[in-house]
């Protein structure tokens, strides 16, 4: 009897621990004093739309394809990066009293509009420290606001409101999620390398019904379309030898979505941690591993600014899903040169795809991000 009760107690303890682990993110501090992602993240919403200080890097990434009443097509990108420049515990060494300018958080914003009809790509960048209301990320009454100067995203219960006003163009959009957040990898734990710590917490809103205004050359244009939002945070995701990545998001005409990323190694091979997520019509994710897909560049384009050679057309084959797509950049020159902020030169552009899914013809719109082509990617901040 005693033995049975001991066994019962042990089972209870195990259950408790499992429950505890399942309900809480697995996080630890790295040797530098930053939090690291080491296991499933189990994000909860709306809380996890908010910032995650303690991790070195975090971003809120919006991309989308929009259509004006005139028939003109536009791609856009609006990204907010948060970078923690020193470990959390270093605040104890700050002088007292501290200046209002003293902070650990620096925010960077990148925005772009690809005017696909006029074949023109415009981009802008911003950077500010989280001080004196110049930039920040906060949560109040379940709404998350991330802003840098006059760029912002406000994530409410049922919408995301984006605003970015640059010298060249403006973006004012309201996005409504058509599907719940999709957690990538294992409950949001997205591996980016060989060890457990080389990972990020990553979720997406894969189908955001978008409506609003763009302002280009002083002209306001009413637009609507679909957007994609990624929210990801980590401390040291990339391992040595990885020179950059190709990332792809597609919204397919059959109401499914696809996200893939390929971690490119110095030796030209794709790292085994590269993975993806397929989202079915109901919003259920299916994790894809490196072995599940092949991605072949079909065409290249050389940037006149950085001389980097980027692929601008691809063939994608996902065997388990019977997906075969040809993806083409809607505009070759969608390069982002961000010398004034992160210093990273990358390609972030609107793409279109055609092909088949389960032998049914499909088409898709989406965005591709290509890093490490101008020079090996190095975390800038």
């Amino acid at each position: 009897m005693k033995r049975r009760s001991e066994k019962f107690a042990f089972t209870l303890l195990c259950l408790f621990l499992m429950t505890a682990l399942a309900g809480h993110k697995v996080m630890a501090e790295d040797q530098n004093g930053y939090l690291t992602v080491t296991g499933p993240c189990h994000p909860t919403f709306p809380k996890d739309h908010g910032p995650h200080p303690g991790y070195r890097t975090e971003w809120w990434y919006y991309t989308g394809n929009l259509l004006a009443a005139s028939g003109n097509q536009y791609g856009y990108q609006l990204t907010f990066f948060r970078s923690q420049i020193s470990p959390s515990d270093t605040t104890t060494n700050w002088p007292r009293p501290s200046s209002a300018w003293r902070t650990q958080q620096v925010f960077v914003g990148h925005a772009a509009i690809s005017d696909l009809s006029k074949k023109k790509h415009r981009h802008a960048e911003l950077m500010a420290r989280e001080a004196l209301g110049m930039a920040g990320a906060s949560q109040k009454t379940a709404a998350t606001t991330v802003f840098i100067k006059n760029w912002s995203t406000t994530i409410g219960a049922d919408s995301h409101v984006l605003a970015a006003h640059t010298a060249d163009f403006s973006i004012d959009l309201t996005l409504q999620p058509a599907k719940p957040p999709v957690l990538h990898g294992q409950a949001g734990y997205s591996r980016k390398g060989s060890t457990a710590k080389k990972a990020s917490c990553y979720y997406s809103l894969t189908r955001l019904i978008s409506k609003g205004m763009l302002k280009i050359d002083g002209k306001t244009i009413a637009v609507e379309g679909l957007s994609w939002m990624d929210h990801e945070y980590s401390t040291d995701p990339l391992e040595a030898g990885i020179v950059g990545w190709d990332w792809l998001s597609l919204q397919l005409s059959d109401q499914t979505e696809l996200m893939l990323f390929f971690l490119r190694q110095q030796n030209g091979e794709i790292h085994p941690a590269s993975s993806g997520t397929f989202v079915d019509r109901s919003g259920r994710p299916q994790h894809l591993t490196r072995e599940d897909f092949s991605f072949t560049a079909l065409k290249q384009w050389q940037s006149p600014r950085s001389n980097a050679v980027y692929p601008v057309a691809w063939h994608l084959n996902i065997l388990p899903l019977a997906i075969e797509l040809t993806i083409v950049a809607n505009l070759n020159d969608q390069e982002m040169v961000t010398a004034a902020t992160t210093g990273v030169t990358y390609w972030e552009g609107s793409v279109s795809a055609t092909g088949t899914l389960a032998e049914q013809p499909v088409r898709a719109d989406g965005y591709v991000e290509l890093t490490g082509y101008a020079k090996a990617f190095r975390a800038p901040l």
Partner: protein, 862 residues
């Protein structure tokens, strides 16, 4: 081309060969003109170097900002930054804080510490980390990460002997703190400001170091290119009323204006050397024209046109100018080393802080120096050339004894001279043009020209009227000398003119400097009264912008029984482009121990009004520069308060860097807003004790109790320092003056030598008919004596007139101040005989020349 070659050959044969033959006199003239050119160019290049350094620093610090937000006399609240960045027409905004700091107990000079946000500032200013030393290109990010870190300008790092990774202790009014050096700046952009003696730090560190939490000196803005006046008005509406939105050029322009006024004054003074040198050229070319009259006639008889002759003599002037300018290059190189330091120090003391690290050789400035030198040499040669072209070919057959006859009689010249002198008065009453006393300078030029034109007539009259007396009293040599000077015409007069110019300058400057010094001394002892002065650490260099620590003020209360403590606060403001200080002080206490140096208004009536805070008194400089006088209303925005107060008096004040407005501190605190104590002065209540001892004891007590948190100066030391600065300021002037005198002495020596050489035949005839060497030497000395005495007398008279112009016109229009006129009879009395002796000594070479050739040989010639 053919004509030019022919003319060149003619010039070489006729002029250059003759100059080579008389190498000594040509060399003397060349040296004189070279010295003048060297002084003129060096002075201008030195002031330009300071001007460039100032402008460059201002531009580099202002960066690409097109507007700047400031609060007059105060700080801009930092919370405005987010509001500004949100504005759609503002492209970039960057807050900036600057202060001078220094390495603790290092004894090294203070340097400029700039606190800014490296992120917001990137679009506005160019600065790059020198990554050759392996430093990370994102060192700027480490400024944000680590408190008390900085990046040094490379020259500063070299001077401090520090490298990245090292640390240093910096001291400031607020504290002394250890800083870590993260890197060095590349020698470009912002790092060139202040001669590279700058350091950059994050704004957070700056505020924590200086205690300036919540505020910044200014916010630099870059508006969008399409921003209109309406947008600017819209931005202004975002701001509190006390914040001003201006172009960043305002401060630069006011600094440039002051340096340019100084440059103009020094240029004019240095031009005097060239002006005196001009007499030398005239004298040599005139001699050549006169003594070679026979050769000229032959030249004319053999086919040369009158214009050929004219241009040959003009070319002589040009040759002297060009060669003199070339010789001036090595001379200038030597002079500039002294002037560069002296001038930049004077500008730093008087106007704006400059750090001259390089001498920029501006092509236009060198070309200007060349043009002026050659231009005045040609101008000096013009008259003799005109005379020479009058020589008729038939004179080739005559034996000329007459030499050059002036076209205008001394009487005619004297009338022109008088007209010039008479014009001085109306010109001196004209206002400045473009903030420059141009009518005043024209008056000075006319004064010199007028006295020089009077010289031949004066020489003629004085020699004529004194010849009979001299015959009786001083014998034949004196009589002959007076007759010769009377008949020698303009050539002798020209040298006298040079002497008049130099002596007038000397006299005027001696009077001006004396008047100035006496007035400043009086002002110092009246107004800068106090037994001990105390400011926050490095308060003076930081314009008293940091409050005296409260703990210090509290501790000082313990001394209340022995001393009276008079606090003050100075705000550095601008009235339009004119910089001035608004000084608050305890008028009641001040007037108990000290007083103002009243210029306008009734002190008896004004004092009680001042104590009651019923108005302000302004300095003479402020009044002259702004046009505001007693009865007008002084209006100013000072920090968050707007003042409108009547001007009730004008006082003399010789504080550098602009004018001053004084107001009662208790009334300002009561009626406007509370302000902190920026400085203090102490007066011992017991005035009968040994004050030096008491000051030393109090000073030591304060150091013992409060450490080195504050800077202190004894009243005696401070007054001494003021006068030392004064003397240093005039060091450059004195050097320029001495050089002008040297050139004038050269002029006398050349003229006398020339006169002797020209009259060799005559002198030898005298010798042949029985005159002794002694008598002939005596005669030459008498001639020199005539010239020198007349030159001196006229120079002194001219100098007195000039001194009035300098004191009451030039200084007032250039700097806004005047002085109590005073003549240093002692210095003048001692130096004028000295100048006479020096000038007479200049006759010695002439005497030696008299009998260089045997008389018989000379008499046989021709």
């Amino acid at each position: 081309m053919k004509k030019f070659l022919f003319f060149s050959r003619l010039f070489i044969w006729f002029s250059l060969r003759d100059m080579r033959k008389h190498m000594g006199r040509a060399a003397t003239v060349l040296f004189g003109i070279a010295l003048g050119a060297a002084v003129f160019t060096s002075v201008r290049l030195s002031v330009n170097a300071s001007l460039d350094s100032f402008t460059k620093s201002m531009d580099l610090i202002a960066g690409r900002a097109d507007h700047v937000l400031t609060r007059p006399g105060g700080y801009v609240p930092e919370y405005l930054i987010a509001r500004l960045l949100d504005h759609p027409m503002i492209r970039n905004a960057s807050p900036v804080l600057t202060t001078y700091t220094r390495v603790s107990q290092d004894g090294s000079e203070p340097f400029l510490l700039i606190g800014f946000d490296p992120i917001l500032d990137r679009p506005l200013r160019n600065w790059r980390i020198n990554d050759k030393s392996g430093q990370s290109p994102v060192v700027w990010l480490d400024l944000l990460k680590e408190p008390f870190t900085l990046i040094l300008g490379e020259p500063l790092a070299r001077q401090l002997n520090r490298a990245p990774g090292d640390s240093l202790y910096l001291e400031h009014a607020h504290q002394k703190t250890r800083f870590k050096i993260l890197g060095m700046l590349e020698r470009s952009g912002l790092s060139l400001a202040e001669g590279g003696r700058i350091a950059l730090t994050d704004i957070a560190t700056f505020q924590e170091f200086t205690g300036l939490f919540g505020k910044v000196d200014r916010i630099d803005l870059q508006l969008k290119p399409l921003a209109t006046a309406r947008d600017r008005a819209d931005i202004q509406r975002l701001l509190p009323e006390s914040i001003q939105l201006n172009p960043p050029t305002a401060k630069r322009e006011s600094g440039q204006m002051m340096i340019r006024a100084y440059q103009l004054n020094l240029s004019i003074l240095s031009f005097a050397s060239l002006f005196v040198g001009m007499f030398l050229v005239y004298s040599l070319v005139a001699l050549n024209a006169a003594s070679r009259r026979h050769e000229l006639a032959i030249l004319r008889a053999t086919g040369a046109s009158a214009y050929h002759v004219f241009f040959i003599f003009l070319a002589e002037g040009a040759f002297l100018g060009i060669t003199g300018w070339l010789v001036a290059i090595p001379l200038g190189n030597f002079l500039i080393k002294y002037l560069l330091h002296g001038v930049s120090q004077t500008i730093s003391t008087l106007f704006v802080r400059v750090q001259v690290d390089t001498l920029s050789l501006s092509v236009s400035e060198i070309a200007f120096g060349f043009a002026v030198t050659v231009g005045i040499s040609i101008l000096a040669a013009y008259q003799p050339a005109r005379e020479a072209m009058q020589v008729a070919p038939k004179e080739a057959l005559e034996i000329s004894q007459l030499g050059m006859r002036p076209r205008k009689s001394p009487g005619q010249l004297a009338i022109w001279g008088l007209i010039c002198i008479l014009l001085v008065l109306p010109l001196s009453r004209l206002p400045a043009v473009l903030d420059m006393p141009l009518p005043g300078y024209l008056a000075i030029l006319l004064l010199f020209v007028g006295f020089s034109l009077l010289a031949p007539w004066a020489l003629q009259r004085i020699s004529h009227s004194s010849s009979a007396v001299l015959l009786k009293r001083a014998g034949i040599p004196a009589y002959l000398a007076s007759r010769y000077v009377r008949d020698s015409g303009t050539r002798t007069a020209v040298s006298v003119g040079a002497l008049i110019t130099a002596v007038a300058l000397f006299t005027a400057l001696v009077i001006m400097i004396y008047s100035f010094r006496q007035t400043v001394t009086y002002w110092t002892y009246e107004t800068i009264k106090g037994d001990l002065f105390l400011t926050s650490k490095m308060g003076e260099i930081n314009r008293f912008r940091y409050p005296i620590p409260q703990q210090v003020i509290d501790d000082l209360q313990d001394y209340r029984s022995e001393i009276d403590i008079l606090p003050n606060r100075r705000f550095f403001l601008n009235y339009g482009k004119f910089p001035y200080e608004f000084e608050l002080m305890d008028m009641q206490g001040f007037m108990q121990y000290a007083s103002f140096f009243w210029l306008k208004g009734n002190p008896k009536a004004i004092r009680p009004m001042l104590k009651r805070g019923e108005g302000v008194i302004v300095s003479e400089v402020f009044s002259n520069r702004t046009g505001l006088t007693v009865g007008d209303v002084f209006k100013a925005q000072i920090e968050e308060s707007y003042l409108e107060l009547p001007i009730i008096g004008i006082v003399r004040d010789y504080r550098t860097q602009g004018g001053v407005v004084f107001y009662s501190m208790p009334h300002f605190n009561a009626q406007y807003h509370q302000t902190y104590w920026g400085g203090l002065r102490f007066f011992f209540k017991d005035r009968s004790q040994d004050l030096d001892l008491a000051v030393a004891k109090l000073r030591n007590d304060i150091i013992d109790r409060m450490g080195d948190k504050v800077d202190m100066y004894s009243g005696k030391g401070l007054r001494g320092a003021v006068l030392k600065i004064f003397d240093e300021t005039f060091a450059v002037t004195t050097v320029l003056l001495l050089i002008a005198l040297v050139i004038a002495a050269l002029g006398i020596a050349t003229t006398l030598t020339v006169l002797v050489l020209e009259r060799s035949r005559q002198l030898n005839t005298l010798f042949a008919v029985g005159a002794s060497f002694r008598q002939i030497r005596s005669m030459i000395f008498w001639e020199a004596g005539f010239m020198v005495v007349i030159g001196e007398l006229a120079g002194v008279v001219c100098g007195f007139v000039l001194s009035c112009l300098l004191v009451f016109v030039i200084n007032r229009q250039s700097f806004g101040w005047t002085f109590l006129y005073g003549v240093n009879w002692g210095a003048l009395g001692a130096s004028i005989p000295l100048i006479i002796l020096t000038a007479l000594a200049a006759a010695l070479p002439a005497v030696k020349m008299v009998f260089r050739k045997p008389p018989a040989t000379l008499l046989r010639e021709r």
